[in-house]
Amino acid sequence: MLRLEKRPVPSRAWTVATPVLAVLLTMVAGGVMFQLLGKDPFVAIRTIFWDPVFGEFAWYFRGQLLVKAGPLILIAVGLSMGFRAGIWNIGAEGQYIIGAICGAAVGLAFYPLEAWFIFPLMVIAGGLGGWAWAMIPALLKTRFRTNEILVSLLLVYVAEQLLAAMALGRLRNPEGGGFPGSRNLSQYPSAANLELIPGTGMHWGVVAAFVAVIFGYILLQRHVLGYQIRLAGQAPRAARFGGVNPNRLVVFCLGLSGALAGLAGMFEVAGPAGQISIDFNSGYGFTAIIVAFLGRLDPLGILLAGLLMALTYIGGENAQSNLGLPSAAIQAFQGMLLFFLLALDLLSNFRVRLATRKVKT
C-alpha cells in the first residue's frame, strides 16, 4: 500500500522535475488516447510539440508562439501576485477588454494625425483602463467586504457588453460600410503595435511581458512589498502582526493585475488583432489563470508555462487541421497536461512510501 508523508520542507528537486515529468506523462496518456481514436500517436505528438517549433512551417509558427504567449505571460504575472497574497482576480478578461477599448479609443481619437506620442499615450490609457476596471472589485472589497472573485468575474460580462456596444457604436469605423468593428489600427502607423523583428512575432506586448517577468521576479524576491504579498498569502494573521495593511495589499494586487491585463489588451488590439470587434477577446484573461498556476505563481515559471501553453494551442490547432483530430480530443489533451501537473505537485510536498505494517492485529 502506498502512503504519503508530508515533507518538512518542500523538495526543490521535485519542484523542478514535476513539470517535465508531467509533460512526459501527458505525452504517454495522450498518445494512448490518440491511438484509441485511430491516429498514429507519434505523429500526433510530433505535430503538437515538435512541428510548431522545428517543423516545415516553423518559420510561421515560431512567431505565433510569442504572439500567443505574450499576453498570457503579461496577464499571468500580474495575477500571480494577487494569487500569492490570497486575492483572487478572476476578471482579467474584463480588464483586458477595457484596456483594449481605452487604448484603441485614444489611438482612434487622434486619427489620422501621425505623431510619435500617440502610441505611448495608448499604452498609458490601456494600463489605466485595466487598472480602473480592477479598482471596482478592489474598492468594493475594502469598503464593503464584497467577494472579489464574484465581482471581478461578473465584471467580465459587463466588459463584453461594453465591447459590443463600442464595436457597434462609438468606435465603429465610419468608413466601414456599416460593418461592426473599429478602424484597423495596424494600418495606422502611429498607433500600430507592429512586429519589431520580422518573423519573430516579437511586438511591444511581448517586450512588456518579459519586462513584467523581470520586475515580478525582483518584486517577489527582493522588495518588501513582495515579502508582504507572500506573507499575507501564507499567514494572514502573521501579516497583520507584521504590520501589513490588508486593504492596501488588495488595492495594490488588484490594481497591478488589472493594469497588466489592460496593457495586454491594448497591445493586442493595436497589433495582432488590429481592431476592436465584437469578438475581440479570446479568453486570454481566463487562460492566464491556468498559466499562473502552471508556473507555480513564480514569474520565471510563468514565462515557461506561457510558452508551453501557447505551444499546445498552436500545435493543437495544427493537429486538428492536419490530422483531423476532433477539437474535444485536443482540449482533453490540454486538460491532461494540467491534471498531471497539479497531481504531481503532490510529490514536492509529500514523500510517497510503500507502507510497511508490522502491527500484529
Binding site: H223, Y227, R230, A235
Partner: protein, 509 residues
Amino acid sequence: MTGRETLLSIEGLTKAYPGVIANSDVSFRIGLGEVHALLGENGAGKSTLVKMIYGLVRPDAGRMLLRGAEYAPADPHAARKAGVAMVFQHFSLFEALNVAENVSLGMENPPSQGQLARRIREVSQAYGLPLDPARLVGDLSAGERQRVEIVRCLLQDPKLLIMDEPTSVLTPQEVEILFRTLRQLSAEGTAILYISHKLEEIRALCDTATVLRLGKVVGTCTPRAKSARELAEMMVGKLLNETRRSGSAPGAAVIEVQGLSVRSPNPFGTALKDVSFSVRRGEVLGIGGVAGNGQDELLAALSGEVSAPKGAVMLNGTDIGALGPNGRRSLAVLSAPEERLGHAAAPDMSLTENAVLTGAAREGLVRGGFVNWGKARAFAERIIREFDVRTPGPGNAARALSGGNLQKFVIGREILQRPDVLVVNQPTWGVDASAAAAIRQALLDLAEGGTAVIVISQDLDELMEIADRFAALNEGRLSAPRPTEGLSIEEIGMMMGGAHGMEVAHAQG
C-alpha cells in the same frame, strides 16, 4: 502497584515518525478503577501513546490487552465501543449549537433531544458537573465546555477515561470540582488515564504514575510517595536550574493602560472591558486567567494589531493607541503572540524571512523598500546562536522546528531588538522544561536591563516565579494588580473568577 485487577495492559508499544521515535517499547498496566498518571514533558510521547489507545494512531509494534482480550482499535469508534473514552485538551464543540445538540453529534444513534437532555441532566448531576442542556456552547466558560466533553464521554459508560491536560483551562477552584468528579468515577470502577505535566496535581489525584521521557518509560511510581522535585527530575532526567531574580527596585511607569475597552475581532472572542494597569521600568507584570478570557485581545490591543481608543494606551505619557504594529515597534513596544505558527511566525517561510517579520524596522533589514537578505540572515543567525535554537540553519522553514525551538526563536527575535516594553502571551506553552527555564530567565534578565515586561500566561506557577505583580483576566476584565509575594492560591483563584458560578453538586461537599 495496587492489587487491582488489570483493565488495560500495554506491551511494548512502539511508534516512529520520520526522524522521531515517538514511543519506544512502552509497557505498563492500568487497573480497574485506578487513576493512572502519564507524566512527561512536551514531546515525551504522551500524546502519541494515548492516540494509539484511542485508535487515532496505529502502533508500529507491540500490543494492547483490554481485560485480557486483544485490543487493537482501528479508529476511535472502535475504541469507544470497547469502553475507552477520551477528553481532549482542545475541545471539539460547535459554539453555535447548544449542549444537547453537541452531545448528540458525537453519538451513533442519538435519542430524541428531550430524552437526551434528561440523560445529560441525570449524568451531570450524578457526577457533580451540573450542566444545562439547552445552553449555547458559545456562551459557556472553558470549565463548562470541558464538562460537556466529560458528560459526552460519561454517557457512553466508559471503562477507561483518558484525560489530556484537563486542568490547563481551569481555575484552581474548578480543578477542585473536577478532581472530586474523577475520584467519584474511580470509586465506581472507572479507570482514568490522566495526562499532565503538573506535578502537584498528579500527587493529589493519582494512584500510580508512569513517567515517559523521549518516548521511553523511565519509571513507575506512586506519586504520593515522591516529592514534586523527585518527579520533576524523573521527568526531565536532570536537575533543573532555578531562575535567578534580581532584587532591584522598578523605576518609573513606562506603559500605562487606562480604561481600555476593545471589541474582539472574532465573533466568539471576548471583548476587553475597562482594563487598566501600568508597568514600570524593570518590572514584570504577570497576567493570569483561564484561556479565552481576553488574553488574545489584550495582546492585540498592546501590539497594535487592534487600535485602542484615544488615551487608553500611553507610552511615557504619549498616546500610542492609534499606531499600528510597526509604529509601536519603532517606539520599542514589542510583542510575541501565543500562536507561534501562523501568528508569531509564518509556517512555510524560512527563519530568515521570519526574522524580517518583526525585525524589519528596528534591525534596519529593509532599505529603500528592498529587503537586505544578507543582513536578515545575519539577524536570524544571531537569534539562533544566542537563544540556542536547534535547527540546521536560518534557511529552514519555521514549521520544521519543534514548538520549543520556534518559541525560543520568536522570543529571542523580540528580545534582541532591545524593547522598552515587551508583551508576551504564553511564552513557554508547549516548551520543554529546560527551554522554558531559559525563556523565563531571558525575560527576567530583560527586566533587569530596564524593560517593562508583561507576561500573559495560563501557567500560574510560571507567573508566580517571574512576575513582580499579578493580575487576572476574567471575561475581559482585569483584576487590580497585586504584588505576587504573599499571594495565596485561593486569592489567585478568586481573582481568576473563582468557580465561574459553576455550582458544586457533590453530595458530600
